[in-house]
C-alpha cells in the first residue's frame, strides 16, 4: 500500500463570486505521477499552487503534505522545502549564473556548504543535460535549456514532491521534447510528480493517474487508459475530442 504524501480535503477557493476551486478532494501517493488536464481557467494551476501555498485556500478545507498542514506559519518553510515547483515562465534568477541559481536554495535553506552545493548543482545540471552551461546566465540560454535549469534548481532541494505548472506551454515547439524527456526520466525515480499539462501524449505515456478538471471541480479521475480511451463524463469526452482532433 502506497503512503499518502499529499492529502487535499474539501478545498474551496473563491475570487469574489467566482469559484476557482470547489470541493476538491484528492490524495496522492508517494512516488505517484499525476497529470492534471482540463481547459484554461478550470482551476488546474490554482490547485497545484495551493499545495505549496503560493495561493491561499483559506475559504475552506485543508491540505497536508507528508502529514504537515499547509498553512501560514512556522511549518510552511518545511512544506516548501519538501515541495519543488517548476513554472510555466521558468522564473530563473536572471542576475545569477545557472550554477548559482541551482545552488542558492540548498545553501540558504538547508545550510549546505558552498562547495558541496556546487558539486551537487553540477551533477544535477549534468542529469538534465546542460552541464556545459553552468557558468552562463539564464538570459543566454534557450527556453528549453532554461526550463531544464529550473528543474535542476527544484531538484537541488531534494524535494519529495515536484509540482509542474504547464512547464512546456511557454516553449517553442521544437524545445518541448527535451523538457518532457527530462520529466520522463524523473518519473520513476521515486519523486512524486503533479503535472499540469496540455501535453496529452506525455500524460498518457507517463502518468500513473490522470485528473480531468473543469469549472474548478475534479470531473473525472482514472488511469490514462480510462481517461483517454473510455472517458465516462461527457465534459471529459468533449474536451479530449477538442484537443486531440485538431
Amino acid at each position: 500500500m502506497m503512503r499518502n504524501i499529499i492529502e487535499i480535503e474539501n478545498v474551496t477557493k473563491h475570487y469574489g463570486a467566482f469559484a476557482a476551486l470547489s470541493d476538491i478532494d484528492l490524495t496522492i501517493g508517494e512516488g505517484e505521477v499525476v497529470c492534471v488536464i482540463g481547459p484554461s481557467g478550470s482551476g488546474k494551476s490554482t490547485l497545484i499552487r495551493c499545495i505549496n501555498l503560493l495561493e491561499t485556500y483559506c475559504d475552506q478545507g485543508s491540505i497536508r503534505v507528508d502529514g504537515i498542514p499547509v498553512q501560514p506559519g512556522p511549518t510552511l518553510g518545511q512544506v516548501r522545502a519538501e515541495v519543488g515547483m517548476v513554472f510555466q515562465s521558468f522564473n530563473l534568477f536572471p542576475h545569477m549564473s545557472v550554477l548559482k541559481n541551482v545552488m542558492l536554495a540548498p545553501m540558504r535553506v538547508r545550510k549546505t556548504p558552498a562547495a558541496e552545493a556546487a558539486a551537487k548543482a553540477r551533477e544535477l545540471l549534468g542529469r538534465v543535460g546542460i552541464a556545459e552551461q553552468a557558468d552562463k546566465y539564464p538570459g543566454h540560454l534557450s527556453g528549453g535549456q532554461q526550463q531544464r535549469v529550473a528543474i535542476a534548481r527544484a531538484l537541488a532541494m531534494e524535494p519529495r514532491v515536484l509540482l509542474f505548472d504547464e512547464p512546456t506551454s511557454a516553449l517553442d515547439p521544437e524545445m518541448v521534447g527535451e523538457v518532457l524527456d527530462v520529466m520522463r526520466q524523473l518519473a520513476g525515480t521515486g519523486v512524486t510528480m503533479v503535472v499540469v499539462t496540455h501535453e496529452m501524449g506525455f500524460a498518457r505515456q507517463v502518468a500513473d493517474r490522470v485528473i480531468f478538471m473543469d469549472g474548478g471541480r475534479i470531473v473525472e479521475t482514472g488511469t490514462p487508459a480510462q481517461i483517454f480511451d473510455t472517458p465516462k463524463e461527457e465534459r471529459t469526452r468533449n474536451f479530449l475530442s477538442a484537443v486531440l482532433n485538431h
Binding site: N52, G77, F87, N91, H95, L104, A105, R108
Partner: protein, 223 residues
C-alpha cells in the same frame, strides 16, 4: 569698472579660495551624511510601506507623502527655529542633516518601492516555492535586481540632496554658499559667489552626465 573685474576678479578669487574650500568640505559633509542616512531610511520605509502589517503601512505612507510635500526650507526652519521651543536644540549641522535626511528618505522610499515593484512576481514566487525566507529572498533575489533599476533615479536624488545643502546657509551653517556670501561681503566683490557657483557645477555636472549615461544604457537594454 568693467564686468570682468566685477565678476571674475582673480585676486579676490585667490584670496577667498581657502574660505570657499572650507565651505565645500562642510557642504560635502552635510550632503554625504544626508544621502547615506536617507538611503537607509528610504529602504526601511519602502519595505515597511509594502510588507508591514496594515496598521504600520498607513502611517509610513502618510510620512512619505508629508515629507515629499513639505518645502525643505520650511522644514529646516521649523527644525532649527521652532523645535528649541519644545526643548529640542539641534546644531546647525544636525538641523540641516536631519531635515535633508527626512526628505531624502521619503523620496528614496518611493524610488525603492518602484524598483522592487518592477521585479516580476515570478521572482517572488520562485523564491517562496524554494523555501527561501523573506530575508534571503530580499537579499539574494529581489534587491540585487532592484538596485540596477533604481541606480539612475537614486543618483538623481543624490544630486538634489547635494544641491539642497545650500539651504543650510539659512541656519548659519558655514557651507559653500554661506562662505561665499561672507567672502563677498568681506571683499566687497561678487566674485566668490561666481566661484561657488562654478564649484557646485564642477562636482554636480559629472553626476548629471552619469545619470544620462545610466538612463541611455537602461533604455537601450529595454528596447
Amino acid at each position: 569698472m568693467d564686468l570682468f573685474e566685477t565678476f571674475f576678479n582673480v585676486p579676490v578669487f585667490i584670496r577667498t579660495f581657502p574660505l570657499l574650500m572650507s565651505g565645500l568640505v562642510v557642504t560635502l559633509q552635510i550632503g554625504v551624511t544626508s544621502i547615506i542616512a536617507g538611503l537607509v531610511l528610504g529602504l526601511c520605509l519602502s519595505l515597511l510601506r509594502m510588507y508591514a502589517p496594515a496598521w504600520l503601512r498607513l502611517p509610513v505612507a502618510v510620512y512619505i507623502d508629508i515629507f515629499r510635500s513639505i518645502p525643505l526650507l520650511v522644514l529646516l526652519i521649523v527644525v532649527y527655529y521652532a523645535l528649541p521651543f519644545v526643548g529640542i536644540r539641534l546644531s546647525p549641522f544636525l538641523s540641516a542633516a536631519v531635515s535633508l535626511t527626512l526628505v531624502s528618505g521619503a523620496y528614496t522610499a518611493e524610488i525603492f518601492r518602484a524598483g522592487i515593484q518592477a521585479i516580476p512576481s515570478g521572482q517572488f514566487e520562485a523564491s517562496r516555492a524554494l523555501g527561501l525566507s523573506y530575508k534571503d529572498m530580499m537579499i539574494d533575489v529581489v534587491l540585487p535586481q532592484a538596485i540596477k533599476i533604481v541606480i539612475p533615479p537614486l543618483t538623481n536624488n543624490c544630486i538634489n540632496v547635494m544641491k539642497d545643502t545650500a539651504l543650510a546657509s539659512v541656519v548659519a551653517m558655514p557651507d559653500l554658499l554661506k562662505q561665499a556670501t561672507q567672502a563677498q561681503a568681506l571683499a566687497a566683490n561678487p566674485t566668490p559667489l561666481i566661484g561657488a557657483a562654478i564649484i557646485y557645477l564642477a562636482f554636480l555636472w559629472p553626476l548629471v552626465a552619469l545619470v544620462s549615461r545610466f538612463e541611455n544604457r537602461l533604455g537601450r537594454r529595454g528596447a
